[in-house]
């Protein structure tokens, strides 16, 4: 008898009895708000969606190191420098936790890495904006990490076990990221008139892009419904954006600064925040690769990977040598 190759579920026209059984077990686990673990059967689209989402999330953490790493050497004090280094180091860790989680779905690390280096993979478009001055470290921590946290907290309950557990770890570590950014802005806002202006200018530039981090409005986000049915996503893009804008609208008052959104207000009747229209054409354009720093970010990532090649080779050679002498 010829060896049977496992058939990819979903490809055959008629699901087998086993497939139907597996599908109903999967549906029951999701229905019970339980978790799916790596060795459980899962529908192929679920696996694909998660692999894409988790790896894109990992790439975002890795690329996201760049705008801030760029300011480490120019931090205004040793304390700020240590803090910024710790934060960037955390983002590297987040990337690694997430790559590990993605790998449990069956795609190897090298393949995921390749997808990023060859430009086949996407990452959060916010990191294609440049960080021009020190105040941007404040705005990034407060607004960009703030939006990331608002997005990530519900992901701790994602239906896929390894993703949820990675997010729990990430969220614990994120808590200081937003605060250190806020405190940078607070110091500037209490400084000279020029420093205050710097802080305001940074907020002006990062406000809209941070609101767009939650993704397109619900009526233009075709895959959201499926993600919510699978309990990967727990809240819609607009719900999360609402929650976030409500929080920063209050927080900005403590800074004595303003959000660049004159008509931002809470509509008591609709029970929702009304914010300015976001420029989704720009968002799509940046995703397509035409943002201020897309090319630079990817090139820097490739360069870092190239520069690390000798380290990887040396480590591999050393490991092989060790193994040989152990055998001998």
């Amino acid at each position: 008898m010829a060896p049977t190759t496992p058939q990819e579920p979903g490809l055959s026209a008629v699901p087998s009895y086993e497939e139907q059984q597996s599908q109903s077990r999967f549906d029951a686990l999701i229905g019970d708000d339980s978790r799916i673990e790596p060795r459980d059967w899962m529908p192929e689209p679920y696996r694909k969606t998660l692999t894409r989402q988790i790896s894109q999330h990992a790439h975002s953490e890795i690329i996201g190191m760049q705008p801030e790493a760029n300011w480490i050497t120019r931090a205004p004090s040793l304390k700020r420098k240590s803090i910024l280094m710790a934060k960037v180091q955390d983002e590297a860790g987040h990337g690694l936790y997430l790559y590990s989680a993605a790998e449990t779905l069956g795609t190897e690390r090298d393949e995921l890495n390749d997808q990023l280096l060859t430009g086949r993979a996407k990452y959060s478009s916010i990191f294609n904006y440049t960080a021009r001055n020190w105040a941007d470290m404040g705005a990034i921590g407060w607004l960009v990490d703030g939006a990331a946290i608002a997005n990530q907290v519900p992901l701790c309950r994602a239906s896929y076990g390894p993703y949820g557990r990675a997010m729990v770890r990430v969220c614990k570590e994120e808590s200081f990221h937003q605060r250190q950014g806020f405190e940078i802005l607070l110091s500037l806002s209490r400084g000279t008139e020029k420093q205050k202006q710097m802080a305001q200018d940074a907020i002006n530039r990062f406000y809209e892009p941070s609101l767009m981090m939650f993704g397109p409005p619900d009526d233009q986000s075709p895959n959201s419904a499926q993600s919510m049915a699978w309990k990967i996503k727990r809240f819609s893009n607009d719900e999360l954006r609402q929650r976030f804008v409500g929080m920063i609208a209050e927080q900005v008052k403590v800074l004595g600064l303003t959000l660049p959104d004159e008509n931002l207000h809470f509509d008591e009747e609709k029970k929702q925040w009304i914010h300015k229209d976001l420029n989704w054409d720009e968002f799509m354009n940046v995703i397509k690769g035409n943002g201020p720093a897309n090319a630079q970010r990817l090139e820097r990532r490739r360069e870092a990977h190239r520069e690390g090649a000798w380290v990887r080779e040396a480590a591999t050679a050393y490991a092989a040598k060790q193994e040989q002498s152990e055998v001998a």
Binding site: E37, R39, D40, W41, A86, Q89, D90, G93, L96, Y97, S100, E103, R109, D110, N113, D114, L117, T118, R165, A166, R169, E173, H305, A309, R312, E313, A315, T316, Y318, A319, Q322, E323
Partner: protein, 96 residues
């Protein structure tokens, strides 16, 4: 474009303090056991999360089959007399 490294995968277990057991924290790639241990320290204990680390090659871990879960773990089913709460008659008796 990138050279494949194919470093093996390692599972990381962290003991958070003396007297507690090691708990699975995640996994990582490393070329050998020493690097696996060092990377595990850098990746999973940046905030004093642990006083001890284990790393195990993922391929060395034997797991039970998730699909045969019911049959495999059948034995304790219906044996609630293994729990103290089963013994109702002695409820309320002091120091028992």
């Amino acid at each position: 474009m990138s050279q494949k490294s194919n470093w093996p995968l390692w599972e990381v277990f962290v003991r958070s303090s003396r007297g507690l057991s090691h708990v699975h924290a995640g996994s990582l790639h490393a070329p050998d056991k020493e690097m696996a241990l060092r990377n595990a320290r850098d990746l999973y204990t940046r905030r004093n999360e642990g006083v001890s680390l284990w790393v195990v090659r993922s391929t060395d871990i034997i797991t039970s089959d998730p699909d045969s879960k019911d049959a495999f773990f059948e034995s304790p089913q219906g044996k609630d007399y293994r729990h103290a709460t089963y013994y109702k008659a002695s409820e309320g008796v002091k120091h028992l």
